[in-house]
Amino acid sequence: MAKYTEDDLKVELETKEYEYGFYTELDSETFPIGLNEDIVRAISMKKKEPQWMTEWRLEAFRAWQEMTEPEWANVHYEKPDFQAISYYSAPKKADPNKTLDDVDPELLAMYKKLGISIDEQKKMNNVAMDIVVDSVSVATTFKKTLNEKGIIFCSISDAIKEHPELVQKYLGTVVPQKDNFYAALNSAVFSDGSFCYIPKGVHCPMELSTYFRINQAGTGQFERTLLIADEGSYVSYLEGCTAPSRDENQLHAAVVELIAMDDAEIKYSTVQNWYPGNKEGKGGVYNFVTKRGLCEKNAKISWTQVETGSAITWKYPSVILKGNNSIGEFYSIAVTNNHQQADTGTKMIHLGKNTKSTIISKGISAGKSNNSYRGLVRISSNADNARNFSQCDSLLMGNNCGAHTFPYIESKNTSAKIEHEATTSKIGEDQVFYCNQRGIPTEKAIALIVNGFSKEVLNKLPMEFAVEAQKLLEISLEGSVG
């Protein structure tokens, strides 16, 4: 039959390249490879940091040296050689203090390719944006508008210099330096990232956004995000990530700390599309990320993530429900194709009374990939009337992929109510044929089925992001039914 078969689709997929796989020729300053105390000091000096910051980094570095890489995750890879990575790379002309007109035109061209012209962003969307290329933050838009409300949104490097009291007070309070291997590494060498402070009672009038990009070869990216929502404030924060296609694996070890004070609300959305490696599993980003939020009284933190990229994803955005009546939410779509591996989920730590958490996880596996949900719900003895609802759904495509669910529940309080639901389904030939019969071609049919499967999570994303995420799902899964 002259039909467009799954084999054709596979061929197309093989020839289809990662859309963001370009590399931009930027004049960069890159540190020699390797890591020791001198490098840590040099990073700190390069960034003109105060003494306390240098000490903080060194403390983390010393702790890191004593630690070993975690091996409990359901992922298999060759461990990175931490002495073969450069820990600092910066586009030379990117000086965050300059205006847009001073930005390297190559850099601006790169943003255009990524579909994020800053000019356009400024005009069209109500999105304030920080962009981190390799290690440094290169542009923060909308600064002025935000200033009027007393909102601080800048690179973490600037924050260390300009708002040291806030940084010193909160940095490492949710994710301590010694929290885990990658968090310790990040604490020692983080080069940039975003900082955000929303004052008491302020409803942030626009979405805040950070766009991360690894450009330079042989570098790691270690960004650090610190977001503080003061009492009764609200903020919605978005982050997006891409990287060039490279044969070697690149390391990305970020830390995100959120602090939601009494009655505050933080909505944190991620669309992660790091380079996943080629179809044989060569190259791709190792995404080892620690994200955690702390809720005080009546506060709420929502994590929404769409994970389509990276060769390895190791990521558990968590919420510590410290205050009474606080709420934690985790909505996740994780897609793995070809040889990608994802071990992702969340931790909901109920400490306060009447705390509530919701976990909706949608895993989609195709090709030879492996997709694991790993989640912990812990109810402490003081957390009276805590509630959790977890739902983990897996969708499989073809016969060579895997979906795994590792839910951990620890309850020390008998008044807790914990619900866990899990399903595994497969895109059926009969579903595809049904769509075909109604005139919907196979590729479109798969997109439709996947979007339907992911709908509960997609609905949680801010509008512009939801459209992008939907497209990303389609691209990531093209040709994967078999």
């Binding site: 039959m1 039909k3 030939e429 044929f433 019969q437 109604r438 919907i440 196979t442 089925i449």
Partner: protein, 250 residues
């Protein structure tokens, strides 16, 4: 409209259809009846292009064009519609969204612009009234948690939306109570015109009380062994299929 010539087809090397000949003209309603395992559903699968079956011989012509090499969606774009015996569930995809996608894919394939939203809404309103469908129903996930009757009614609603040239109703009466059957049949009758045709595949005569066929064919062991008018259906209802078998053997 549809012309099937000496059609042979098999699944996993087992021959199911053994030389079917069938002519359906615009404006006609044909019924195919037959005992279980005669190949009735296979025939509908093959006309719509289900790849699990292999056509080993013969032709399927739609308005003179051989469609037997076309993909299922291409056949759909040319106006072939199947009301499934067992409609599948697609969680998270609303009936409305599904229909919107289907209609626009067909329009795209036929070189037309997407249907404007207001036109789409109007069409949905019109057709849901025709089939006495509660509008709330249309925002539910496709077939998920639908009763047997709701599924079948939804199939005919889709048929109404897509306005096919040839509609194949595969065991549409199964799972329907008498009221639902009447609504579904009324819907089909209202959609019938001189420009389109209907092929009803059924085990029982019941549906044919409501959708009156111009021709009735008996399918047995992969062949059409007898054709006649609507009275043939009544005779089958009364006497079963054995007498035809005996007639064949003589």
């Amino acid at each position: 409209m549809l012309s099937i010539k000496n059609l042979h087809a098999s699944i996993e090397d087992k021959e199911i259809l053994k030389g079917i000949n069938l002519e359906i003209n615009a404006g006609e309603v044909h019924a195919i009846m037959g005992p279980n395992g005669a190949g009735k559903s296979t025939l509908s699968s093959i006309i719509t292009g289900n790849e699990n079956y292999e056509v080993t011989e013969g032709q399927i012509l739609l308005e003179g064009e051989d469609i037997s090499e076309l993909a299922p969606e291409e056949r759909a774009h040319k106006g072939i519609f199947l009301s499934f015996q067992y409609p599948v569930e697609i969680p998270g995809v609303s009936v409305t969204n599904f229909m919107k996608t289907a209609i626009n894919e067909s329009r795209k394939a036929n070189g037309k612009e997407e249907m404007p939203a207001n036109e789409m809404l109007k069409l949905i309103r019109e057709k849901s009234e025709l089939l006495e469908i509660d509008r709330k129903f249309l925002s539910r996930s496709l077939n998920e948690g639908f009763s047997g009757g709701e599924k079948k009614r939804n199939e005919i609603f889709q048929m109404a939306m897509l306005e096919p040239k040839l509609a194949i109703l595969d065991e549409t009466d199964s799972g329907l109570d008498i009221d639902a059957l009447r609504i579904v049949a009324n819907g089909v009758n209202k959609l019938k015109s001189q420009e389109n045709a209907v092929l009803v595949i059924t085990h029982y005569q019941r549906l044919l009380d409501y959708i009156i066929p111009d021709f009735v064919h008996v399918l047995m062991d992969g062949k059409i062994v007898k054709s006649g008018g609507k009275e043939l259906a009544l005779e089958l209802e009364e006497r079963g299929y054995d007498w035809i078998k005996q007639e064949q053997e003589v």
